[in-house]
């Protein structure tokens, strides 16, 4: 049950492996890895800078997790989100969820990611060869979140 923010790259499969071993008795392990795509609308992305308001991101993510845990029965979760400079093809975010039955993991993991997208205080700036640009929040991301929580 951890929410980690870090500058350093992480090896997602080591973390998933460890998580799965830590949750030996779970029947389902869900995971999601978000990575930096090397292109965004024909622009070559050389790197991205992720800014973080750490205290608030922790508060917001914990709040969402609390709500999701009331709704879905899960055994464990892990969230890792990077900040600082991240290169194309590197991971940005990892969510892993363990539960007895698969649907709980799916709903929890997807719901958590949906909320992180619109509530967790991270901002991405994409750096191109001659310029850089702040990434806008996607309209669709606001539509995905489950306000009944």
């Amino acid at each position: 049950m951890q929410v980690l923010f870090q500058r350093k790259k992480f090896n997602e499969s080591d973390l998933i492996n460890k998580f799965s071993l830590d949750n030996k008795n779970s029947g389902a392990i869900f995971s999601f890895i978000g990575k930096v795509r090397p292109k965004n609308q024909n622009n070559n992305v050389l790197s991205i800078d992720i800014e973080l308001y750490e205290k608030m991101a922790q508060v917001q993510i914990k709040k969402i997790i609390k709500k999701l845990m009331k709704k879905y029965l899960i055994d464990d979760y892990l969230v890792v989100h990077r900040y600082g400079r991240v290169k194309p093809r590197e991971n940005i975010v990892l969510i892993v969820v363990a539960s007895q039955h698969r649907k709980e993991s799916f709903r929890f993991g997807e719901g958590l990611m949906d909320w992180i997208k619109v509530k967790a205080t991270f901002w991405k700036k994409e750096n191109y060869s001659n310029s850089s640009e702040w990434v806008n929040q996607k309209e669709t991301d606001r539509e995905f979140i489950d306000f009944s929580l």
């Binding site: 978000g34 800014e51 989100h81 991270f122």
Partner: protein, 82 residues
């Protein structure tokens, strides 16, 4: 009261935080109006204050929210992490 700026807003204003003094509770919209009057930089940065997001002590609030001097106000464009 401490004000924190993030992302593009921080870049426009040229600093990540500042402290202002407010004697009694005030609406965030009122604070924004006062900041806008300071100079062109602030005026431009807060031009579209409706599309910015506001948080007091790490909770999202809207422009009508009242703050006091002991609060921490954060202002930023919609988040784009994940």
């Amino acid at each position: 009261m401490k004000i924190l700026y993030f992302a593009k807003l921080k870049q426009l204003i040229g600093k990540s935080e500042e402290t202002i003094c407010i004697r009694k509770k005030k609406k965030i919209s009122q604070i924004i109006n006062e900041l806008k009057k300071r100079n062109d930089v602030y005026n431009f940065a807060f031009k579209e204050s409706n599309s910015l997001q506001y948080a007091v002590n790490c909770e999202y609030v809207d422009l009508d929210f009242f703050v006091t001097d002991s609060d921490e106000l954060a202002i930023f464009p919609p988040v784009s992490g994940g």
